[in-house]
């Protein structure tokens, strides 16, 4: 059995806050903007330590994105912080024109993504943001898996020249990425080596997939689990190598089936090595109020859904 050491339990947004605070100390060019959600985004430490480099913009996200774009002129590296919904859909045109098309060095940092925002309900549970962001030319899209990886990704994107969308969330989840792990944008983490099936997951679904491993391994299924923390640019080498060996794939994400990680994987495989693929994702529906874990179960992105998808894809492969 593959054992994963649990290093603690924390939310990914706190990883962002810690990473940003570290950047504040290490890089004088980093500035941060927030639209009235400083506490929710865990930006307090940066704000406290760097008041002259922190810009509270109030509830005005469109202004925030364009301000950030302007702040790149003169050499700053702006990090914007608000919920994922208000970081993308609400400001798509500002991002499109002033950030992506203009190729500005803005880091759009989005918390409370997906269903696991929980009780606030569907108005705030964006499940389309990965799709919107990955469609923009020049945009890098990153969905780290746990607290430690979110911190590492936050630090890594400051050193990357160009627009980045960094997506993380609210629930407290197990930490399994080592604190000293090396985060490389566009380079997937292979968590387990296997031969029967490839699971490609991102965000909270990486942990759900780790949970699914137990059942699958007990059933004698050899799983190659890949943490695809960068959706764009996609690590196609890792996919090619793994799927070439296993011959089938399950993708798992806290996002709409349309436009998500699974879409990116399918688009690549359909042109290079078409194999059976099953999706663990939300299928064309809005969420609702509930606890994060209740919602993951109800909307089909829980541990058991990963197990079921693996069984289904193996049946197709072996048919």
């Amino acid at each position: 059995m593959t054992e994963f050491e649990i290093l603690g339990n924390k939310d990914t947004r706190s990883g962002f806050g810690e990473g940003l605070a570290e950047l504040g100390r290490a890089n004088e060019h980093v500035v941060a903007l927030c639209a009235d959600l400083t506490g929710s985004l865990k930006m307090d430490a940066f704000q406290k330590e760097n008041p002259e480099r922190f810009f509270q913009v109030g509830i005005a996200e469109a202004n925030m994105i364009s301000l950030a774009a302007g702040m790149t002129i003169g050499g700053k590296i702006p990090f914007t912080g608000t919920f994922a919904n208000f970081s993308t859909g609400r400001v798509y045109d500002q991002i499109r024109q002033s950030v992506a098309y203009s190729r500005k060095n803005v880091k759009i940092c989005a918390s409370h993504a997906g269903l696991t925002l929980g009780e606030d309900g569907a108005t705030h549970q964006i499940l389309e943001d990965i799709g919107m962001m990955k469609m923009l030319p020049n945009m890098t899209v990153i969905v780290p898996a746990d607290h430690n990886q979110t911190k590492q990704a936050t630090i890594a994107i400051a050193a990357h020249e160009g627009p980045v969308y960094l997506r993380f969330g609210r629930p407290v989840m197990p930490i399994f990425v080592k604190p000293d792990a090396n985060f490389v944008i566009g380079k997937a983490d292979v968590l387990t080596v296997g031969t029967d099936v490839t699971i490609i997951a991102c965000g909270h679904l990486v942990w759900k997939s780790i949970e699914a491993l137990k059942t699958l391994e007990e059933a004698g299924i050899s799983v190659e689990l890949i943490n695809m923390h960068t959706i764009k640019p996609l690590d196609t080498d890792a996919i090619m190598k793994s799927v070439g060996k296993t011959g089938c794939v399950v993708t798992a994400e806290e996002h709409m089936l349309n436009g998500g990680l699974g879409d990116s994987v399918a688009q690549f495989l359909s042109r290079t090595n078409p194999v059976p693929q099953e999706y663990v994702a939300v299928n064309d529906t809005f969420g609702e109020s509930g606890t994060p874990m209740e919602l993951m179960t109800k909307y089909g992105i829980d541990t058991q859904d990963v197990v079921n998808a693996v069984r289904k894809v193996l049946a197709r492969k072996n048919a």
Partner: protein, 280 residues
Amino acid sequence: METTALQHIASQVRRDIVRMVAGVNSGHPGGSLGCADFLTLLYFDELHHDAENFTMDGIGQDLFFLSNGHISPVWYSVLARAGYFPVNELETFRKLSTRLQGHPSTDKKLPGIRMASGSLGQGLSVAIGAAQVKRLNKDNTLVYCLHGDGELQEGQIWEAAMYAAARKVDNVIATIDCNGRQIDGDVDDVISLGDLHAKWAAFGWEVLTMDGHNFTDMKNTMAKAKSLCGHGKPVVILMKTEMGQGVDFMMGSHKWHGVAPNPTQLEDALGQLEETLGDY
């Protein structure tokens, strides 16, 4: 620079504008002609800038952002005439692979442009962000931006206006091209802006007015605007202009907002505009 010298340049800029849009039978001559005098004054008399050594960061130089990107013809002409790129390149406006895109972009790396614009309402926020960074960088140069009056119907403008006053961003000078026209008709008929002077004042800005076709008035107003900088408030200039200024049949209506003249109309227009610096 003497007023006659500025008028001399502005006349050529107007010729460039009508020739550019006629050359591709598309583009926006009306607002471009209306802002020809202002942008000529800005680039030839006001801005601290270095046309031959353009840098994206513009450290130690005044910055200009065109928020109403559809009047790109006037900006391109003024930039070229000021030495940012070869005047002959104006001929490529809106043509395949050109650096002179229909609306300004940084994508093709045209010197002089620091931000794409076209989707309206974003440039004030951009200018304010750049102005705040100038303060962080202890750079005492200024940030200028230009907006259409119709553009003020975009809500983001007022988010930015509120923010700049609240944060005391006092190194930005915004100018509003008050020609009173937009695509569908007169601004007052489409959606009235009400008392614009009172609105900006209520939002906490220093508000000045000027005649966008009177160089003496513009010089005096710009001097006043600069003297107001550094005193805790952002500055806006409501600039009265005539859409289509300089070409009689384009003035007095919104009709020429986004329509190019045909060959006969072009000839008529060029007959009214003296060739001063030489056509491209």
